[in-house]
Amino acid sequence: MRETLRFLGALLLGLLLVGGTVGLGLFLLLQGEESLKKELLRLAQAKLPVLLFVGFLFTLVLAALLYPVFLGYLAATRALGQEAEILLANPGHRLRLRGPFELRALADLINRLAQEKEALEKEVAARIAEAKSLLEEERKKLAALIGHLPHGVVLANPKGQVLLYNQGARELLGEGLGVGKSLFGLLDRGLMVHALGLPEERFLTQGPRGPLWLQVVPLEGEEGFLVLLEEAREKGGWDAALLHRLKDKLAGLKALAEALDQEARGTPLEPLLKTAKATAEELGQLVASWEAPAQAAEVLAEDLLALLAQALERETGVSPGLSLEEEARNLLVQADTYALARGLAAASRDEEEAFLEGRREGNLLHLTLTLPKSPMGPGAAHPDLPPLLKEAVERSGGSAWWAGSRLHLLLPAREAPRLPAKSGPPPRAEVFDLSLLHAPEELEEAPLEGLLYTAFDLETTGLDPEKDAIIALGAVHILGKTVLRHEVFEALVNPGRPIHKASTEIHGLTWEMLKEKPKLEEVLPGFRLFLEDTVLLAHNGAFDMAFLRRVGIDQPPLVDTLLLSYLLFPDLQDHRLETLAERFGVPVIGRHTALGDALMTAEVFAGMVPLLRAKGYRTLGEVLRACARLPLARLKY
């Protein structure tokens, strides 16, 4: 369009120039030649059609001369420029030699330069690869080590976004775990912050797939932390409720045997009951010593009091007075500090002041929390303990009760062994690829390379989102420019109805192939988890989103590689996914399978990121706004 207007403008200018020059020449020649002027005017009037025809012929000739310059040279030069930009992303791409001779020569020159650049880059890459191989060896060892640890290991940045995890962590935390995703959606944020302050301590918490032991270790000198996870089922351990029940029943049986034994003296039953009594006695002795393992770690009394005081201040705004008996200072107390802190905070809501006192009572630490404003006068009925506190005390193997305005807590404790102070720096993990350590505040302000995307694709029974159904979903995570090929989601879905032949020809899926597959509502929760905390990415995403919206998934923003292609190459004609893949040197494998297309979209996007940056689109917001201005963005399905 632009070229056409410029061409018409140039034509008009040419006509004005030639017409003006001829007119001016005639005007000057005919000065003082009145009769000749009249004669010429008469002749011109008489021969007007001939003159107009000559003028038309002249215009045609001029247009024929100008046309190749504008529509051939200029547009082709621009297209050549845009195609040449692909070389920045895909050095293996070569420009096609077409158009006028000069442009073909130019394209040939660019190709040769690209070839040289590619060779140079290969050489540099080879050297880097050589240098990296040693590092890679280390990395592999570390990855194998982490991968085979019996514990779940997750490395996260200060915002809780996952940088690295092992299979164990995936098994314990489920599909919601992924590189770049937030850990805080899976684990209690307050507990993580609390645990970070106590890197030596393990905490019992509820994970997405059951109870977990959790330990959080800050990374020395790095911004981030390491989370260690273990399933909270103690092998061979006793469940407290079961053990108490066993003791209860055994006590009953033993009492019965003893009572019967007393009654049966001198009767023929005596030897039988004696044996029963002795057996019950032995059993009783065996069971008496069993205790259910406490589900809490040990912490120094001194640290415990300080922690509880901090938590009270944070949760209730009250800064409690503290006192700890000298004798109790060195006690190792069994306590789930997080649950205890929250329980105490719940007990002291609406208080204006509090006093926390600790003293030793044999093998117990006796904590007394005095709340002067407490509603209970002496002798008044006490409210129940807050459930959080009850649970915390139970887990710690202790007890708690109210007495007037005082809350008493007893926690099992033992004298801390005196260990020599550790020398040298604390142990630290070797970590790598921490591009996420500096996470942006706002999504829109985030640089394109710093975001986690989910490239996805759907296969459907047809093109109408109102009538047709989803039959396959494929998705892959992509972190900035890195496609995370190990984090994929793929599912075939039973649409509950036959599939048109025309549609089968595209994706190759038939009704028979899908009959045994799960229904969409069974697949969606996993898909939803996979998308969570990521930016959606699709080729011609408006189509896929129309289908997803109908099943309740709408998670803006959406980055569309089709729109990005129009943004990057407005003068190229073909913006289909496979053409883009070819341009960016992405192998076309599994076209029209949902996962195959999702992977291809991801790779194409990875290639586009540097080009977008070169064009000045730095953040997600800038890209989305530019895409929204394209006429194509208004297309609705």
Binding site: D248, A251, L253, A255, G284, L364, W401, L410, P412
Partner: protein, 119 residues
């Protein structure tokens, strides 16, 4: 002596009732905390043998409520929760004695007599 035995375990109630009656005491049985409080409100007891883990209101709660009664019985806590923290709590809440399950009936009877003697 009037004794209230509170336990949800039938195998405990049966021999205890038998033995205490045989020792010459008047025995009333309760299977829940609520039943125990009701019995306490109906008449005075000299001793309450109390389990801690009861369905509904637990033994600690019964102990606290019993403390507020004008004629409160002495309390012997008899429980499978034998932890030191439970013992200390029971004594702090006003129990006179604490025995962990499983127990020997002779120990129990002598403990009952001891409490009866101190009446």
């Amino acid at each position: 002596m009037r004794i209230l035995v509170v336990d949800d375990e039938e195998s405990i109630l049966v021999p205890l009732e038998f033995l205490l009656k045989k020792a010459g005491h008047e025995v009333v049985l309760a299977r829940t905390g609520e039943e125990a409080l009701e019995a306490l409100s109906r008449g005075a007891f000299d001793l309450m043998v109390l389990d801690l883990m009861l369905p509904g209101m637990d033994g600690f709660a019964v102990l606290e409520r019993a403390k507020a009664l004008s004629q409160r019985p002495k309390v012997l806590v008899l429980t499978a929760r034998g932890r030191e923290a439970d013992r200390a709590k029971a004594l702090a809440l006003g129990a006179e004695a604490f025995m962990a399950k499983p127990f020997g009936i002779q120990d129990l009877l002598s403990q009952v007599e001891e409490l009866a003697g101190g009446r």
